[in-house]
Point group: C2
């Protein structure tokens, strides 16, 4: 018996944001999944349909199923939910496809249950879904999906999430080249140690980026969007990365880098018009090397997941 | 011929502030040098007297002399200055003794010249003094001395200094145990590489600390005052460090760590009364091991260097 139903927008997210490897993330608005949740009397989670992608319907093999079950267990909830997932974010694109599903289901369940859980708790449940998807329970995509805006994960254990101010004119341009990079592979190529000198540069930049976001100082945000540690290694896996980044900066982007573990590339700009120009310039570089891709332009989504009419 | 004279307060400073190795610093108010500057017609810098410490009067061997000459050369200034330095900050204490002299002289000269230089330029001249003192031209003490408050050095080359918000109730307690640690030695014992995992913790904490300072969220400031990289190594050189830190936290400090390269230990607290209690608790630990020391309690000095009546 269906008791109540909601329809959600579950945003794509950009993790890392150049200098914030494993800690920073932001939510997008123009690209995201849709999800329908129904409160039912039968216990557990049943995934009744998935469109847009070929993903498992079995609860224990689906990130949304696993995240939802983690919440049901923690709350000792006796009834259940049916879920429909309409994927618009491609899995493996590096803009938080699994996070959108994991975060969406627990956020929606919380709504249908009368909000027994805090955002902090919802992130913990959603992280169980991320664990299924990538092998590690990271929060850098699910946190901005649930909190909205820009988030900093100070620590994963204990989980400590901080909302960072998101300047009104900050827009993201994202291009997703149609190549496959597995998150596990893009983790494997990273070195497990870094020089202290590079570490100092990285935390100097991250501190400055956070300051720039609070001060709404776009020039400072621009100077701080540097990554001397991860980008030089991971960008090798993305054809044309250097040219795309050059084109984005030449078009006036504040900064440009790899979204999450790639292959998507993001740029941040001041204003929507500039972000559109930047996206075109980035797209042109991929067209030159005949690589199919998707292009998105979005304001930072300060709401995170929300209910659709 | 003396044309004009000013008398300055040149604050002690705390560099690093736990998670901000080589990038963060703050200015104190209750401890600092006094300096008298006189504009004279004879060219160059003449140090006419130093009290409180046995330091070289020769311009090219004195940090204030070297910093002042760097400014005179850059501005192609034809006249000169006489300087009296009244040291109250002990050299080698780890609270920016050389920085107070280097920053004070250039700040004062700028006043007497009618402010031709920006704070940014003054830091660059002062860094020449720091280079004489420690072998490297670092800005993490001179920047807060000149800018006041809390500063972040995003990059030393090119120099990029950012003023960070300083919450009104933030107070520092400092104890200076009377032992000698040379800055060069405390640099030598640091490893030149760190694990990526420790790097992530460090930039997570630094980003969170900056967010905490802008949000004036004392609990967040407290959680972020962690250092997994430098403190475990350098604290070995400071007798009783672990007990002092424990005592500071037990007394209610937000955090506690090594000031600069030590041996001074700082704690941050919410409110002056709490900072006084914390200072007493820290002092007691040093008394137990019969180590002479000085104790200071100070609000964060948001003005930096200033003119005394």
């Amino acid at each position: 018996m269906i008791k109540e139903q909601i329809r959600l927008f579950c945003p794509a997210t950009i993790a890392n944001i150049s200098c914030g490897f494993d800690v920073l993330g932001l939510a997008l608005d123009s690209i995201g999944d849709e999800m329908v949740l129904r409160k039912v009397s039968s216990p557990g989670i049943k995934i009744t349909g998935i469109t847009g992608q070929d993903l498992p319907l079995e609860t224990d093999k689906n990130v949304a199923g696993v995240a939802g079950m983690a919440m049901i267990k923690a709350l000792e909830y006796k009834e259940g939910f049916e879920i429909e997932i309409h994927k618009k974010i491609k899995p493996g694109s590096g803009i938080g496809s699994s996070a959108a599903s994991a975060a969406g289901v627990v956020w929606g369940m919380n709504q249908l249950m009368g909000s027994p859980c805090s955002d902090h708790q919802l992130v913990q449940f959603a992280m169980e879904g991320e664990k299924l998807a990538s092998g590690s329970a990271h929060a850098d995509n699910v946190a901005p999906a649930i909190y909205g805006g820009i988030t900093l994960v100070r620590s994963s254990s204990p989980l400590d999430i901080i909302r960072i101010n998101s300047p009104e004119l900050l827009y993201a341009s994202v291009i997703h080249p149609h190549i496959e990079i597995k998150t596990s592979d893009s983790r494997k190529i990273l070195k497990t140690s870094i020089s202290l000198a590079d570490g100092i540069k990285q935390w100097g930049n991250l501190g400055a980026l956070i300051a720039g976001l609070f001060k709404e100082d776009y020039a400072l945000i621009s100077r701080s969007l540097e990554d001397h540690i991860i980008e030089p290694v991971r960008s090798i896996l993305i054809p044309g990365f250097d040219d795309i980044k050059k084109a984005a900066l030449a078009a006036g982007a504040l900064g440009c880098g790899i979204s999450g573990s790639g292959p998507s590339i993001f740029a941040l700009s001041k204003g929507g018009d500039k972000a559109t120009e930047v996206a075109k310039a980035m797209s042109l570089e991929l067209s030159k090397i005949k690589l199919n891709h998707d292009t998105y332009v979005s304001v930072i989504n300060t709401k995170g997941i929300y209910i659709l009419p």
